[in-house]
């Protein structure tokens, strides 16, 4: 504490206690960006980070767990194959004094679907037919398909924050200023001051009655940065107490050596992978020399050559860790399906094996491979990441790689238009369930649009989504990963860790850096 005040003093502290040194105040810095406080108008990490502090959820993940439990609800369960019933706790209030009832819940989901903003998460409610407020504390969700095991997770996702029907517009996005003015909050915190992407001041809301419990710190100020280097300097100088998302790997590495701060690591849900377009990759279905066996050999060779450890250490200094399957470590059902199949079998690369695989398939070396990545969408290190990958694939002259970067807007158009034979993608989960790493990718009709089609995988994915028995479902998820690992629709290689840097006296960071990927300010104290 003393050190913080001292260094911070050089750049002045006022006496109002509004700054980060009054006993109950914590200052957090981030490079996140908020696009909207309206849950119907944003679907990004920065906005969701704010929503997690201030809006109530029906279901939520308790500290330390990726699995959902009732939050402001008393119970939540399937009461029929397509009927999911949630009972709210009695006597809930919004911070502005309005009653929080089932009518708010129905309002929330109705407006989400109605507004369907292009920046919003309404697409997550794909299985929601209608919402019914049976009585003031009972809500019934009528679903389209039966036994949807994902739906409870959706209620904790960006589509899940409940909003105040007396403060939000039913058919249009509500401006941030109006939301703050109406004080339409009922999470662990309410917002007292708001300046878009500059600062947010939070005050603990004592009317929150959910599973997460009361906030440990009465006031939290969040400062928004554009440059990670400035965020780093401020945490190092003690001008802020917590830096969460996203410091450069160099910064984190440097801060680990700094004894004024603590670097806290937690599991991360973000993954990186190379996607192959089955039509246009070397020997792909639409190329002149189409040959499925050779095409598979090319993918296998890539999997053999990728040196995940080098990527993790040299490019990311350990802030990303090697990933050997499709579901990242930390989630129920994660495996290491690729580890034994490719490379040296221990996770390392094996050029001789790659060469043999290709030669056995009758492929002439070197294989010309066009590899595309997005220059800024997945962070500033993508260029270095792909510089490394290019270097690794060219080992022993096995591949001749032409790597190019493209700006994200163009990239998004091109990749689904079969322009790129092989390309970089990353994924940040909508909710903490293995399904979110399988369904979007490996169904026949999928987000990748890479023409991967495996009937068995497709059926298994559909099957796990409706398997109520947890163990049986985990088995299916593992089986799916093993199958895809043989086909190599994509080659996963890195998993991001969540890293928070905190002042020495800040406690509770470990509690919230969990596989729910929700960073709750309420867990922190000093």
């Amino acid at each position: 504490m003393g050190a913080l005040v001292l260094t911070a003093c050089s750049s002045n502290k006022d006496d109002d206690g509004a700054s980060g040194d009054g006993g109950g105040t914590l200052t957090i810095g981030t490079t996140d960006k908020v696009t909207s406080l309206d849950p119907a108008g944003s679907y990004d990490n920065g906005s969701f980070a704010v929503m997690n502090q201030v809006y109530p959820f029906l279901l939520n993940t308790p500290y330390g767990s990726p699995d959902v439990e009732p939050d402001i609800a008393e119970s939540a369960e399937f009461t029929g194959p397509t009927e999911y019933t949630v009972k709210l706790k009695a006597g809930l209030k919004w911070a502005n004094g309005h009653d929080l009832t089932s009518s708010d819940v129905k309002f929330t989901f109705d407006r989400q679907v109605k507004i369907a903003d292009e920046n919003g998460p309404s697409s997550l409610l794909y299985n929601l037919e209608s919402t019914e407020a049976v009585d003031p504390t009972t809500v019934v969700f009528h679903l389209k398909s039966k036994d949807d095991q994902i739906f409870p997770q959706i209620l904790s996702s960006p589509a899940g924050p409940i909003v105040d029907e007396e403060s939000f517009s039913p058919d249009a996005l509500t401006p941030d200023a109006d939301i703050v003015k109406a004080n339409a909050f009922a999470g662990q915190y309410e917002i007292t001051d708001y300046d878009l992407n500059n600062l947010v001041a939070y005050k603990a809301f004592d009317g929150y009655k959910g599973i997460l419990g009361a906030a440990k710190t009465a006031e939290v100020n969040v400062k928004y940065y554009a440059e990670a280097s400035n965020l780093k300097l401020d945490i190092q100088q003690g001008n802020i107490d917590v830096a969460f998302r996203s410091l450069a790997a160099t910064d984190i590495d440097d801060l680990r050596k700094d004894d004024k701060v603590t670097v806290v690591d937690g599991p991360g849900g973000e993954i990186r992978y190379i996607t192959f377009n089955f039509d246009t990759q070397p020997y792909g279905a639409k190329t002149p020399e189409a040959d499925p066996a050779k095409a598979l050999a090319v993918r296998q060779a890539v999997a053999d050559l990728i040196d995940r450890k080098a990527l993790s250490e040299q490019v990311y200094k350990g802030t990303y860790t090697p990933l050997y399957s499709y579901v990242p470590d930390g989630l129920t059902g994660a495996t290491e399906s690729l580890k034994g199949l490719y490379g040296d079998g221990q996770g390392g690369p094996d050029a001789a094996k790659a060469k043999k695989t290709l030669e056995d398939a009758g492929v002439t070396l070197p294989v010309q491979l066009k590899l595309q990545y997005s220059s800024e969408h997945y962070g500033p290190s993508s260029a270095d990441e792909y510089g490394q990958i290019k270097d690794q694939l060219q080992a022993d002259g096995i591949f001749a790689v032409d790597s190019k970067s493209t700006e994200w807007g163009q990239y998004s158009d091109d990749r689904v238009a079969d322009v790129y034979p092989a390309y970089q993608l990353g994924w940040f989960p909508d909710y903490s369930d293995a399904d979110n790493y399988l369904t979007p990718f490996f169904l026949t009709e999928n987000f990748l649009s890479n023409h991967y089609d495996n009937k068995q995988v497709n059926d298994l994915i559909l099957q796990q989504a409706t398997t109520a028995d947890a163990d049986a479902r985990t088995k299916l998820i593992e089986q799916i990963q093993d199958l895809v690992a043989k086909d190599l629709s994509t080659v996963p290689y890195l998993q991001g860790a969540q890293v928070a840097v905190v002042g020495k006296d800040v406690k509770g960071t470990e509690d919230t850096l969990d596989a729910s990927f929700k960073f709750r300010y309420a867990a922190l104290s000093k």
């Binding site: 780093k232 500033p380 510089g387 493209t406």
Partner: protein, 361 residues
């Protein structure tokens, strides 16, 4: 008329920079020489990059061994390695090549278009002239960096290839600098068009346009080099700004000082100086070199500013007083004067004392 340099020295001695070098003395000469030396080093580095650079700009390993990221200076890597594991010295050297290419293309395009449009405008006059003058002045107010970012997106379709980055910068620089060449050339053209010898040349049967072009260009050799140096300095700074803002050239494509500086942001505060300082210093030296040349040329072109001893020698030729280097700087007196001529009568020699001085010279 003072359209022709009085004494006739051999051609090479009359070449713009050579001429000034010969006539300069003292401080002005020192500045000019310093500028020329820096510029020469820059150009030679760019040309001989393949010989000078120990490694390629995108080389990550030598002899099967990775260089490693952010390694300090050593015998193998005199200036250490970057966060991406590239050799800093090599990237700085190759970066000179990218910068030089940008300058060459940017300057060539600006001169060609600026001169062509200026001649047309000055020669034909009338509404076309007026419209062009207004357009030139309007474009002039546009921040070149912003234009470069837009150009980068338009030209490369978002692909940050070497030529995409170079062309984006060169074209935006061209757009911003055309008005400057345009202004000078147009003023000359308007003046010479009315002169007697042009008319007489016509009587003799020479092509009107050819005579004009020749005279305009000859008279402009005093002012054009100034603008060229400005143009070159601005090209380097714009390229660097583009790289710094994240619209630069990817490391696998070419060396780019601005890009490297951007990537080195985190290093500086972590005690890793060798990734940021070399590209930063390279930018400064390159711009400093051309700017010093410009600064001295400007002085030498202006009798009021020329060191007095030789001031009388070529009096009568008042260059623009305004080889103020730089976008912001050149936003100053440069480039805006075209407007003076716009409304026809009345004309405002707003230039105040300087104009009077010129008349007296």
């Amino acid at each position: 008329m003072t359209t022709v340099i009085p004494e006739r020295a051999p051609l090479y001695k009359r070449l713009p920079v050579v001429h000034q070098l010969r006539t300069s003395v003292g401080l002005q000469r020192t500045m000019l020489v310093a500028g020329l030396v820096l510029t020469a080093i820059f150009v030679l580095t760019a040309i001989f990059a393949p010989l000078l650079a120990p490694y390629s700009w995108d080389q990550l390993r030598a002899g099967g061994e990775l260089f490693g990221a952010q390694q300090g200076p050593s015998a193998d890597h005199w200036l250490g390695t970057t966060v991406g594991g590239f050799d800093v010295l090599s990237r700085v050297i190759w970066g000179a090549r990218t910068a030089l290419l940008t300058i060459v293309i940017g300057v060539a395009l600006s001169i060609f278009l600026g001169v062509a449009i200026g001649l047309v405008s000055g020669y034909f006059g009338g509404w076309l002239d007026r419209v062009l003058v207004v357009i030139a002045d309007a474009i002039y107010a546009f921040p070149s960096l912003l234009l470069a970012i837009l150009a980068a997106i338009v030209i490369s379709g978002g692909q940050s290839s070497m030529w995409g980055g170079i062309l984006a910068t060169a074209i935006s620089i061209t757009v911003v600098f055309i008005p400057q060449y345009f202004r000078v050339i147009r003023a000359e053209a308007v003046r010479i068009k009315a002169e007697a010898f042009v008319e007489s040349a016509r009587v003799v049967g020479s092509s009107h346009t050819r005579i004009m072009t020749r005279h305009v260009l000859r008279n402009s050799t005093r002012t054009l080099p100034l603008i060229v140096t400005l143009n070159a300095g601005e090209a380097v700074l714009t390229l660097a700004g583009l790289g710094f803002l994240g619209f630069g050239i990817e490391p696998t494509e070419a060396g780019d000082w601005g890009y490297d500086l951007n990537k080195a942001l985190a290093d500086v505060t972590s005690g890793i100086w060798w990734t940021a300082i070399p590209p930063g210093v390279a930018i400064i030296l390159a711009v400093l070199g051309v700017s010093l040349v410009g600064e001295s040329l400007n002085d030498l072109a202006d009798p009021r500013l020329r060191t007095r001893r030789r001031a009388a020698a070529t009096a009568g030729v008042v260059g623009t007083t305004t080889a103020v280097p730089g976008g912001v700087l050149s936003a100053g007196p440069e480039g805006v004067a075209g407007m003076d001529d716009l409304e026809g009568p009345p004309d405002f020699p707003l230039s105040g004392p300087t104009a009077e001085d010129g008349e007296r010279a």
